[in-house]
Symmetry: C2
Subunit: 99 residues, 2 copies
Amino acid sequence: MIIHTVCFTLVHEPDSAAEAAFLEAARTTLPAIPGVHDFTVSRQVSSQSDFRFQFSMRFADQDAYAAYDAHPAHQGFVGTRWADEVASFQEFDFVPLPA
Amino acid sequence: MIIHTVCFTLVHEPDSAAEAAFLEAARTTLPAIPGVHDFTVSRQVSSQSDFRFQFSMRFADQDAYAAYDAHPAHQGFVGTRWADEVASFQEFDFVPLPA
């Protein structure tokens, strides 16, 4: 199991219609891609970071993650929305350790 | 609900006994503090980041998070282990948005 996350800040004004439209496009597009589980949009609220949002999703394994990454719907979202509307971002991927 | 996370890298050699001892000390100490739910230790595996680990925990609300932060067991862990053994870290806190 692997949890893929990306923290990001948009070029749009906070709480603007453009911000909401970006998040809605992500919600419509990304969780529908095969292999994506538990897709979540969160606000990043720590004062220790300037990022405003996070996407998080779970994949069964690295192959499922790679298939998502290569999927035309993901590549399309990256090319048409992410590339133009994201000002900065940082990816982290997590594999939980046994307790 | 708020999810508190910290990505970090230790001063210890990867896969060393000292690394394992730090993670075990965290596992023994932090989830026992009142208000901490779903405490998880993960490996950070994205090549886009140099951090090697992440702690993640969930709190019911900001008050529960503040009580954890001020709790002597947390302050003790920070003072006796974290301050000496963590080489670098980045906190992020997340509030999931309604789907």
